[in-house]
Amino acid sequence: MQKLVDKEIIAKQMSSRIIRNQMFKGLFFLSTLFGLLVLGVLFYRIITQGIGYIDLDFFQNFASRRPENAGIKAAFIGTIWLMVVVAPVSLILGVGTAIYLEEYAKKNKFTSFIKLNISNLAGVPSIVFGLLGLTIFVRALALERSVLAAGLTMSLLVLPVIIVASQEAIRSVPKELREASFAMGATKWQTVLKVVLPAAIPGILTGGILALSRAIGETAPLIVIGIPMFVAFLPKTIMDTFTVLPMQIYNWTSRPQTEFQDVAAAGILVMLVLLILMNSIAVFIRNHFQKRY
């Protein structure tokens, strides 16, 4: 057989190819480090600036004109209230939609329209959701600046995230499990409820937590809705006024006293810890409950 490939040349070039591979590996690694580095710098700055204000009082006090008395009680509890509305609303709607699309929907124009629509919603700027919330929930439905109004707005905002994550989770439940259930004479809904959902729960929860952490970090839509800054009480029902962490932080950063910048850093720190906590839970769920089929 006549040879077209010169093995000697190949051998000669081999070492330079391997070196190039190593160089790029280093480059890729540095890029990965860059993100971690930025995160590190951000944390360092915030911690050094804000740690001095973190104590028990910080969590027990309402906002104050005096930096040393300022606390995040209202904002922190308000954020929890917001989650209490956003989590069930967005999960029910999101998972319901995902189940419909993955298990029930026929492959037709309408279904693909819904899908297209969802991925478009995922890209709509949060501030536009703010305008929607202001017009529909705050004004038209007269929910005012309540936990409910803000919660519904945020739910719609994060809905696409949950839908997509849930679809992914539902889709990754092997077909074999569904077949096994159907082969036992189970109906579709029984199969979905008893087999598919339990198996998809880790993925759904992970998506849900990530969506929730987006919801509690958003400021712009709440500014547009116009929720108040100073609230010296805790909401008792979802119809009450409230404030949330990012709003409180935003307010502190705009105060003239430089000490408030540090208070803001303390608030940011609390917020970040909360976020990391939520992300860790998501990662934990992902790593430990994800079933291997």
Binding site: D55, S64, E144, M229, F230, T243, S254, P256
Partner: protein, 300 residues
């Protein structure tokens, strides 16, 4: 934090707090007035813990919009109510009372590295800030100043602060079109302190807290340059940029809601002290007395 401050400040309250009140007090409006009202509300919480006070941040006009709609009990304003707003209020049958709370001096500042500007006349201010369709050089204002482009930083055109500046300096002429406008005065502080050719203006408190990063400019209103200080703002020497900030209270709310009446009374009694604490200048005692009398009329 410490708790001692709370106890000492509650001493300023009056006798009828014996009744335990509850319900809501909804306040919105000027971001300038916000720190005063926040402080008042904070103190009030110690006296009447069951009254639920919320203070918003929507700006003077934004506050009036909600006030007109009857959504709020008190509306903070860093300028007097405008005629159009009055008309709307009348149309909706909302009667209100204007209560002056404190003085604020709009302070004109430049970068500390700027060694040539020490005072400006009102005319020069106008020449600086009114748009003439061109980029402006310092030398356009006074020929001996350097030929470098000026950078402008101003509160948002919808803010009470801007409105007031507009009223006394711009007189409705458009502001220079390349001005950086921000609702967040700290962003303006950052802007001026980071830019050698910057000039800006905002509430006195922001200057007072950032004196190391900014240089204030004395204003000559015909009687020689006056530097904005606690005294000159309080006694009116710092003209024309010293102004009064207000809150507007709904008469109906005062009459019908005991907690609103009580809160308003508390606010007037404590406004001066609180204003000083957050960087404003209190009004003369008699002004607060007048406020209290007006209020007493309403609750009769």
């Amino acid at each position: 934090g410490s708790d001692t401050t709370k106890e000492e400040s509650t001493s300023g309250t009056t006798g009828d707090t014996s009744a335990k009140l509850s319900g809501e007090v909804i306040i919105d409006g000027s971001s300038t007035v916000y720190p005063i009202m926040e402080a008042v509300s904070e103190e009030y919480g110690a006296v009447q813990p069951d009254v639920r006070v919320s203070v918003g941040f929507s700006g003077t006009g934004g506050g009036f919009k909600k006030f007109i709609a009857g959504e709020t009990d008190l509306s903070n304003a860093s300028r007097p109510v405008k005629d159009e707003e009055k008309a709307e209020l009348d149309k909706n049958g909302i009667e209100y009372t204007e209560l002056p709370l404190a003085f604020d001096g709009i302070t004109v500042v430049v970068n500390p590295d700027n060694d040539f500007v020490d005072h400006l006349t009102v005319e020069e201010l106008k020449a600086l800030w009114v748009d003439n369709g061109k980029a402006k050089m310092w030398s356009d204002i006074r020929p001996e100043w350097p030929k470098e482009e000026i950078k402008f930083y101003s509160p948002g055109t919808d803010s009470g602060t801007y409105d007031y500046f507009n009223e006394v300096i711009l007189e409705d002429a458009p502001i220079v079109s390349n001005a950086t406008l921000s609702e967040d005065d700290n962003i303006l502080v950052q802007g001026v302190s980071g830019d050698k050719n910057a000039i800006g203006f905002f509430g006195y408190a922001y200057y007072a807290e950032n004196q190391d990063k900014l240089k204030d400019v004395s204003i000559d209103n015909g009687n020689g340059p006056v530097e904005p200080t606690h005294e000159t703002i309080g006694n009116g020497d710092y003209a024309p940029l010293s102004r009064t900030v207000f809150t507007y209270v709904s008469n109906k709310a005062v009459a019908e809601k005991e907690q609103v009446a009580d809160y308003t009374k508390f606010a007037i009694e404590n406004a001066g002290k609180m204003a000083e604490e957050v960087g404003y200048i209190s009004l003369p005692e008699e002004d607060y007395k007048k406020d209290l009398e007006k209020l007493a009329e309403l609750t009769k």
